[in-house]
């Protein structure tokens, strides 16, 4: 149907949000998110404050028990270690890929992408097999006589860190790679032609230009680590658990929905603060404009 001239005039006069159907198009998604995501989250928030009257007791319980605070600290330590490890491993790889011939980079990118899209459960299971007491590493090392007795890697923090670093590494590599691809290497050549050594040119020119990628990847990995569940639950120990495992056990084992809600709210607030920082530092728009 053509818009008649009368219709156009009406459109021009009406407020902007009525003039285009954008909000109408957004409505179904917003309703889905509102009803099945935001509303349940608000319900959880409320549940953390009610028992059955308004109360702080769940939060008071969290604050007063050192073992819970210990879990929160451990969670942040693990998230920080995983972020650091993915940077140490991911940066050289992303740098290498960004400077390689496109064909070669494409082939090697497969090794980054395939794990990225393989089930977290499957990847964690693979590490359980690799790191177990009778696992592949221990069998190979014992067989070759390098170690006398099996190393304990499963159910230790080291094991959790290895597994989580493995699972989150692709996020870091992809975030760094997309920024590094855009760095003009002529700048490095220019720096070198002016007398900078290769190492100096890298640190003074390339590294600063790659920092947006570090910020994006680092924040993303840290956010995802904080709430990680599968890998620490399968590879970690009860004594060194993460807050996500605590939430799970409060619901599944102790049926304490109020306390579970309080724990989840604490984790949610930490996550949202980091997300707000991400929005400030990196910006959300870039996520939507980047070609996947």
């Amino acid at each position: 149907m053509m818009t008649s001239s009368l219709g156009t005039a009406a459109v021009v006069r009406s407020p902007r949000w009525k003039a285009n159907p954008s909000w109408l198009l957004l409505t179904p998604a917003l309703v889905l998110l509102g009803v099945f995501f935001i509303y349940p989250l608000c319900g959880m928030l409320l549940r953390s404050l009610v028992d059955p009257g308004l109360t702080w007791k769940h939060y008071a319980r969290f604050m007063s028990d050192p073992s819970y605070l210990h879990v929160l600290r451990g969670t942040f330590e693990i998230a920080a270690s995983v972020t650091a490890a993915t940077i140490v491993l991911g940066y050289p790889l992303a740098y290498f890929l960004s400077q390689a011939r496109p064909r070669l980079a494409g082939l090697m990118m497969i090794l980054v992408i395939v794990p990225y899209f393989t089930s977290v459960l499957v990847r964690t299971y693979a590490w359980m097999i690799l790191l177990g007491t009778e696992g592949v590493f221990n069998q190979l090392l014992l067989g070759s006589g390098l170690i006398g007795q099996p190393m304990k890697l499963m159910y230790t923090r080291t094991g959790v860190l290895i597994g989580m670093t493995y699972i989150l590494l692709p996020y870091m590599v992809l975030a760094l790679y997309s920024v590094m691809r855009g760095v003009d290497t002529n700048l490095l050549n220019a720096a070198e032609s002016l007398g900078a050594s290769r190492v100096r040119a890298f640190w003074r020119v390339f590294f600063p230009l790659s920092r947006p990628g570090l910020a994006a990847g680092g924040l993303l990995v840290f956010i995802l680590s904080l709430g990680f569940f599968v890998t620490p639950a399968l590879m970690g120990s009860e004594q060194d658990s993460m807050i996500s495992m605590l939430i799970d056990s409060q619901v599944e084992t102790y049926f304490d929905w109020g306390f579970a809600s309080a724990l989840a709210t604490i984790l949610l607030v930490c996550t949202l603060i980091l997300f707000a920082i991400y929005e400030r530092v990196v910006g959300l728009q870039r996520l939507f404009e980047a070609k996947p």
Binding site: N20, P21, S22, W23, L25, L26, P28, A29, L30, L32, L33, F36, P40, L41, G43, M44, L89, P92, L93, Y95, F96, L111, I113, F117, S119, V120, L121, V122, R123, Y125, W127, M128, I129, L130, G135, R181, V183, D184, L188, N189, R198, L226, G227, F228, F229, V230, V251, W257, A260, S261, A264, L267, L268, T271, F275, E279, L284, F288, E289, P292
Partner: protein, 262 residues
């Protein structure tokens, strides 16, 4: 233009990291083809024993079928909504755009354990769906961000003047969308569907909390077996899942290539 010789140190580290990335995926296959009773490395003999055990097991097949149903339903919901959303975000002029972006990304950022228990509390008080419906809706919520991201990127690549031309020739907004935009973003819809499907197919926590004893999706069955099952059947399931992911990726890459050349 963007190529530079990198030093040997970077090359060695990059090679080791690539090895680190490949190793766990590759280790699954010899273990899945193990012929012995227990997980052994190196495998005692090569056979399809455990693969056929899994493929012949009613429990595993029921879970696979359930996962397929849930993922299909979740994908349909997520894609239908995200086509509309991406169109509004890319073509429309809306206020509070930042807020809408943030809201749509939220399910990707909020830890799954939180989304899962919040939905679990919600669905346990309002019994409006059976567990399959509830899991599918939960998965649709979680798949929405990735689908919107992919479709927004696709739609940015479509020349708006084509739609304008169609409308100037008398097509309504709806017709222009259906006849011009939709065919042009079809490859994007295909790859968004694949990623939405994979995200649901692999999702554990929502399915754990909303599922019942009789409705265990594939990840839930792996989850409940992984800690005590010592025989290589989980390895066989894992190997099959890796193959599914690789096939899905190959297909998605094919569609992405097409949308770039189109």
């Amino acid at each position: 233009m963007n190529q530079r010789q990198v030093g040997w140190f970077v090359r060695v580290v990059a090679a080791l990291v690539l090895l680190f990335l490949a190793l766990p995926i590759l280790i699954i296959f010899p273990l899945a083809l193990n012929s012995s009773e227990y997980l052994r490395f190196p495998p005692q003999g090569i056979s399809l024993r455990w693969v056929s055990t899994v493929l012949g097991s009613e429990d595993w097949l029921a879970s696979a079928w359930l996962s397929l149903k849930v993922a299909t339903l979740a994908t349909l919901i997520a894609i239908a909504l995200s086509v509309l959303t991406a169109h509004a975000l890319v073509r429309g002029t809306i206020r509070f755009k930042q807020g809408v972006y943030a809201l749509i990304l939220l399910p990707m950022i909020v830890p799954h354990i939180i989304s899962a228990i919040a939905m679990f509390f919600f669905f346990s008080t309002v019994r409006i769906f059976g567990s399959v419906g509830a899991i599918s809706i939960g998965h649709a919520v979680l798949a929405l961000p990735i689908a919107v991201i992919i479709l927004s990127a696709t739609m940015q690549g479509v020349d708006q003047r084509l739609e304008d031309a169609a409308m100037s020739l008398g097509a309504s907004r709806q017709t222009a969308f259906r006849r011009i935009t939709l065919p042009l973003i079809a490859p994007g819809i295909a790859s968004a569907s694949i990623f939405a499907f994979l995200s649901s197919f692999d999702e554990l926590l929502v399915a754990v909390f909303m599922g019942s004893q009789g409705s265990q999706t594939l990840p839930v069955r792996i989850w409940s077996n992984v800690t005590f099952q010592l025989d290589p059947s989980i390895a066989a399931v894992s190997a099959l899942l890796v193959i599914v992911s690789v096939l899905a990726l190959v297909t998605a890459t094919f569609f992405t290539r097409r949308s770039r050349t189109a």
